[in-house]
Subunit: 339 residues, 2 copies
């Protein structure tokens, strides 16, 4: 077990970033098309090809989940992903054509200090996301890095650098569940000003430092702190969960809704007006039926726990961007500086 989304068989993950622009793309690709749905609980989402994921829609299978920076400008990324998948022959074959489906959500990292040339010289300079989507897909593998990589490259939270996180677990029925998150929350993954993570109760081993729960939570740690006060700011945590249990699209929708609870265990505040929090849920269906309500309840709980852990790991593994004003990273502040 890698403690990564890719512990779910049939899933590969790739990252690509543009260091100059301080942004990037993460893509999860599937060996065979998977059943999927989505639950969007943040108030300011940006997405591509997601309506087809609703249970009343016809198309049942997708070939990639794309997470990216760039706010709405980042939505070109799925185009580059789709091109590579088409060349690989992935997706539905239809009238002699290859029609892969790449669904996407974005986060807002436009004000993180990177050089966003497509905003200062629009039209002449194109956003880098189509290329980043292509490159992330070409890089897809079972092993992938966490922290300041891919869609988490330019991500921040209100108190520490954000990043890309992942985690996995098993259920007692023998199913595998994995989660992947690009953590750019309007809120914080940490309790107050201390080093402890809200997700501590769900930590496995010392996957995000092993500090456990603080002895005491001071009242000021419950004060609501978030980006952009008094000026508005945008944020967003985008994520996916996956299982090898066989689920219908409606069951994937339920899984996506329950998995959003993982965000609420790991971030405070979350699902806010300026978050676009979006969670995709995917069933590879390689391990048999998981659709009975008690099994789905276990899968949903595992997915929520896993996603909470992935969020904490995204912050824990992050490295600060190289700007004077950049948000410091957890390890430098609390871990004695690992580098």
């Amino acid at each position: 077990m890698r403690n990564l989304l890719t512990d779910v068989p049939g899933i590969l993950v790739g990252n690509a970033h543009d260091a100059q622009a301080a942004t990037g793309v993460t893509v999860a690709v599937f060996e065979r098309s998977v059943v999927a749905s989505v639950a969007t609980l943040g108030g300011a989402p940006g997405d591509r090809a997601v309506t087809l994921l609703e249970p009343e829609m016809t198309r049942g299978m997708i070939d990639a989940v794309v997470l990216s920076g760039g706010s709405l400008y980042g939505l070109d990324a799925a185009g580059g992903v789709t091109a590579v998948l088409c060349r690989q022959g992935k997706g539905a074959q239809f009238g002699g054509l290859t029609l892969p489906v790449a669904v996407q959500a974005i986060l807002f990292d436009l004000t993180n200090g990177g050089a966003k040339e497509w905003l200062t010289e629009p039209v002449d300079k194109r956003p880098p996301y189509w290329d980043l989507g292509r490159d992330a897909t070409l890089a897809a593998a079972q092993d992938f890095a966490l922290g300041t990589v891919g869609a988490g490259f330019g991500a921040t939270t209100v108190t520490a650098k954000g990043g890309l996180g992942s985690a996995s677990t098993g259920t007692r029925q023998g199913f595998t569940v994995g989660a992947l998150a690009a953590v750019n929350a309007v809120g914080s993954a940490l309790i107050g000003d201390g080093p402890h993570f809200w997700a501590a109760p769900y930590e496995q081993g010392a996957e995000f430092g092993g500090l456990g729960w603080p002895q005491k939570i001071p009242p000021e740690a419950l004060a609501v702190r978030f980006k952009g006060q008094p000026a508005p700011a945008t944020a967003t945590t985008i994520a996916m969960v996956a299982t090898d249990a066989t689920l219908t699209k409606a069951e994937c929708k339920r899984l996506a809704i329950m998995a959003n609870d993982g965000l609420s265990k790991a971030l405070r505040p979350v699902h806010a007006p300026n978050d676009g929090d979006t969670v995709f849920a995917v069933s590879t269906g390689l391990a048999g039926s998981g659709g009975e309500p008690p099994v789905l309840t276990e899968l949903g709980t595992a997915a929520a726990d896993c996603l909470a852990r992935a969020v904490a790991r995204g912050v824990y593994e992050a490295t600060a961007l190289p700007y004077k004003t950049a948000m410091p990273d957890w390890k430098t502040r609390f871990g004695g500086g690992r580098r």
Copy 2:
């Protein structure tokens, strides 16, 4: 009055197409950001940045509605649109950045005979849609062509060439309502094998031939005929309606739902599993409050009628693509051939 969407003050429309690929893009741009929502009643939609249009989401204003061919490959178009709007300084100003919002829906025209090089040489040849989105935005004007143009360039219906249509009307409160549709329905805009349009009861003047209702509707005209029997096929009519009445986002959602009824008046079958029928609704808010239920009922009815007329005009104004196997156009079949 031009009998076009652009009769609603503050809206411009632009078209661009790629004749070789037999596909194109239509964009409606707004002088100032507008309130908008969407109702997606087709079973196989493809879209970009639409979740933010739901009434519970924070972002209230958009700057462009993009309609395009290309199925999911076409979703790059909004990127080119957004780049031009950014250069023009359109949209929200946020932290010194220009953040226009372009929402998009696509239709499926991949099997219409055009040379889709990005499908035969993927990655090396990119889909043309980013460029077409840019060019359509640069072409935006009050006057624009109908028929085999823009998003309607490669469109078909089951019995006749499809195309881009538009229409407008006024309400007795003095509001203007307009509609725009790229008609690529799985079904037909025509009654049986004859020249009459299902939308005939709503026709103004002779805007789609003035033939009125047929004397008699033979039983075989009610037989359900649609593309892709027995093989599956995909289709989709994508549309927008707009009014200068001031509406909230929730009221725009209601307007979009009522406007979908215009599709059902003009097309049979419609909202089918392989249609991705999507209707955007926009309020420019330049003419005062239209949100009281009786007024909104009138606006919704006007929008539905207008959209039915726009659909018929899209088919009526279309010109067949220059392929042997291309779907014939209405005017050649029934109009004595205007050209």
